[in-house]
C-alpha cells in the first residue's frame, strides 16, 4: 500500500496541523447554522441553560452590591460613648485626649450636652416639650471612630467592652451592630449561592450532555459512514464539541439578558427603598465583564458537557467490533 497515489496518503500528524484556523471557523459556523435550522428546540435548550446560569449570576451580583454597601457603612460606623451625667467638661475633654492618644482610634469627637440638646431640638420636632425641661438631661457624648484595623467584628466587640469598663463611661454603644449581622448573613448567602452555582453548573453539563447524546443518535448513519471512509475520532468529535460550545454561548447570552432585565426591573423599587433610608444605594448593572464571563463560562460548560457526552457515546457507534 506504499504505492497509494494521492490525497489519502496524508501522513498521520498532518491532519491536525493542517486543520487550519479557517477550517475551525468553518466547522464552528457549520455547527451554528445546523443549530439555527431548528430554532425552536435550540432556543428551548438554550433557555434552560440561560436560566441555570442566570440564577447564580444574578444572585451573586445582588449580594455583591449589598456586601459592598454594608461594608461601606461599617467602615463609617463608630462607637458612641455616653459619659456619666455628672461628668465635668474637664473630665470629658480629658477622656477625649486620652482616646486620641490611642492609635486604635482614628477620630474622637466630643459633643457637649448643650450642643446635643440643640441638635435634638432642631431635628426631632420636640422643641416645645424640650423647652419645658428644667435642666439638660443629656450627657457628654464621645463619638469614637475605630481605626480601620479594628473593624473585625471580634476586635470591635472587645473594644466596646473595654470602653464600657471605663469609670467615666455610662454606656458604650456600637451603632451598627445589626449591620454587622446583616453583613455576616450576606456572607452565608454568598456561600449558598456558590453551592447553587455548582449544582446548576452540573445541571448545565447534564443538559448539554443529553442534548449531544440525542444529536449523536440522530446522526448515527453519518458517523458510521464517516468512520468507514476514514474519519478520525477527532474529526467526528469536532462538530459535536462546537454544538456544545454554541449551546453554552447562547445560554450565556440568554442568562445575561435575564439578569439585565431583572436588575432593570428591580432598579426602581430598590431606589425607592434606599431613598426611605436616605441611602444612595443602587444595584449595579450588568457590565461588559459580566457579559464576557457569562459567555465564556457558558461556552466552557457547554464544551465540557459535549466532550463528556461524546466520549461516552461515540465509541458505541463503531461500525465494527474490532477488539
Amino acid at each position: 500500500m506504499r504505492e497509494a497515489p494521492s490525497a489519502q496518503a496524508t501522513p498521520r500528524g498532518r491532519l491536525n496541523l493542517g486543520y487550519g484556523l479557517h477550517r475551525h471557523l468553518e466547522a464552528a459556523l457549520d455547527s451554528l447554522s445546523a443549530l439555527l435550522e431548528s430554532p425552536l428546540s435550540t432556543l428551548m435548550t438554550a433557555a434552560v441553560l440561560g436560566i441555570a446560569l442566570a440564577l447564580p449570576a444574578g444572585l451573586h451580583m445582588v449580594l455583591g452590591d449589598l456586601q459592598r454597601l454594608t461594608g461601606d457603612w461599617q467602615a463609617s460606623a463608630g462607637i458612641s460613648l455616653f459619659l456619666e451625667l455628672g461628668a465635668t467638661p474637664a473630665q470629658a475633654q480629658g477622656l477625649q485626649a486620652e482616646l486620641q492618644q490611642d492609635e486604635r482610634f482614628s477620630e474622637v469627637r466630643l459633643t457637649a450636652p448643650r450642643q446635643a440638646l440643640d441638635e435634638f431640638r432642631d431635628s426631632s420636632g420636640f422643641a416645645e416639650a424640650l423647652g419645658l425641661l428644667q435642666s439638660n438631661p443629656l450627657p457628654f457624648v464621645l463619638a469614637v471612630t475605630p481605626s480601620p484595623q479594628q473593624r473585625e467584628p471580634a476586635l470591635m466587640d472587645a473594644l466596646v467592652a473595654e470602653l464600657k469598663a471605663h469609670p467615666a463611661v455610662e454606656l458604650a454603644q456600637f451603632d451598627l451592630r445589626w449591620l454587622q449581622r446583616f453583613h455576616a448573613m450576606t456572607e452565608v448567602a454568598e456561600r449558598v449561592v456558590r453551592v447553587l452555582a455548582l449544582l446548576l453548573s452540573i445541571g448545565v453539563l447534564l443538559v448539554v450532555g443529553n442534548t449531544i447524546r440525542l444529536e449523536i443518535q440522530g446522526r448515527r448513519d453519518e458517523i458510521e459512514v464517516c468512520k468507514l471512509v476514514g474519519a478520525t475520532n477527532g474529526f467526528i468529535r469536532r462538530p459535536f464539541l462546537y454544538i456544545g460550545a454554541w449551546y453554552g454561548v447562547l445560554g450565556g447570552l440568554l442568562a445575561w439578558l435575564l439578569v439585565s432585565l431583572s436588575l432593570w426591573q428591580l432598579a426602581g423599587p430598590v431606589r425607592r427603598l434606599a431613598g426611605l433610608y436616605h441611602s444612595e444605594f443602587r444595584l449595579g448593572g450588568t457590565g461588559f465583564v459580566t457579559f464576557g464571563l457569562l459567555l465564556a463560562g457558558g461556552a466552557l460548560l457547554g464544551l465540557l458537557g459535549a466532550w463528556l457526552a461524546v466520549g461516552r457515546h461515540l465509541d458505541r457507534l463503531e461500525p465494527d467490533r474490532i477488539r
Partner: protein, 226 residues
C-alpha cells in the same frame, strides 16, 4: 496485495462464517467472490476492509498484518480501501456532490481539490449533471453509482464492492460491472462479491467460490470452477 492464511471468522455467537480460508490476490488483480446467500462473501469483504477481524489465521493487506493495526491507525487504513455497499449507505440529507466529497472532507482536502476530484469521479460514473440532487431523487442504479463514485474519489489502491448489482436489472448490472473493470484497469486491486453467477462468469476474471464458509473453487469461469 491481499493474502488470507488459514483464516477462520467466528462471530460472537460462536457461528463460524469462514473456515480455514487461504488465498492470495495480487496487486492490480480483479477478483469476484461468489456463493449462495450465507456463504460468507460479506464476511470476507469485511475482513479485508477491517470492519471485522478474523478469529484465527492471518489477513494481510498491502503487506500489513491487519491484526497488528492499532485502533487509532484504523482511519488511515480505511482511507486506502474504497468500499461499495449493497445498500450503498448514502447520506440522505446531503447532495450527491457532498456524499461523494465525504472521503476527501474527512482528510481535510481543500475546496478546490475536493471540487476537482468529486467532479472527476462523478464524470466517471456519468452523474455529473446530478451533483446537486439528493439521493432520494435518483434511481437505484444512479444511487449505486454515487456510492461507487464515493469509493473511488480518493483513488484508493484497494476497491471492495459487496453485491453492487444486488438491486439492479441485468442491463444496469452489466454497466456497473464494466465500471469496476475500468477502475481495475487503472490500477486498483478490486474484489467484488456477487451471487449473480450468470453476470460474473461473463467477465472473464478470476472467481473465488465460497460454500458454507469454505473455499470451494478458485479460477476463471469456463475453467476449473467447482
Amino acid at each position: 496485495m491481499i493474502r488470507f492464511e488459514h483464516v477462520t471468522k467466528g462471530y460472537p455467537d460462536g457461528f463460524e462464517a469462514l473456515q480455514d480460508l487461504s488465498f492470495e490476490i495480487g496487486q492490480g488483480e480483479m477478483v469476484f467472490v461468489t456463493g449462495h446467500s450465507g456463504a460468507g462473501k460479506t464476511t470476507l469483504l469485511r475482513l479485508i476492509g477491517l470492519i471485522e477481524t478474523c478469529t484465527r489465521g492471518e489477513v494481510q493487506v498491502g503487506g500489513h498484518n491487519l491484526a497488528r493495526i492499532e485502533r487509532n491507525q484504523l482511519p488511515y487504513f480505511r482511507r486506502k480501501v474504497g468500499m461499495v455497499f449493497q445498500d450503498h449507505r448514502l447520506l440522505g440529507d446531503r447532495t450527491v456532490f457532498d456524499n461523494v466529497a465525504l472521503p476527501l472532507v474527512v482528510v481535510g482536502a481543500g475546496h478546490k481539490e475536493v471540487g476537482r476530484r468529486v467532479r472527476a469521479a462523478l464524470d466517471k460514473v456519468d452523474l455529473l449533471k446530478k451533483e446537486k440532487l439528493f439521493p432520494v431523487a435518483l434511481s437505484a442504479g444512479e444511487q449505486q453509482r454515487v456510492g461507487i463514485a464515493r469509493a473511488i474519489v480518493t483513488r484508493p489502491p484497494v476497491l471492495l464492492a459487496d453485491e453492487p448489482t444486488g438491486n439492479l436489472d441485468p442491463d444496469l448490472s452489466v454497466e456497473i460491472m464494466r465500471l469496476f473493470r475500468e477502475f481495475n484497469q487503472v490500477g486498483a486491486t478490486t474484489v467484488v462479491a456477487s451471487h449473480d453467477w450468470g453476470l460474473i462468469s461473463r467477465m472473464g476474471r478470476r472467481i473465488l467460490v465460497l460454500r458454507g464458509g469454505r473455499l470451494m473453487g478458485d479460477g476463471i469461469a469456463g475453467g476449473d470452477v467447482g
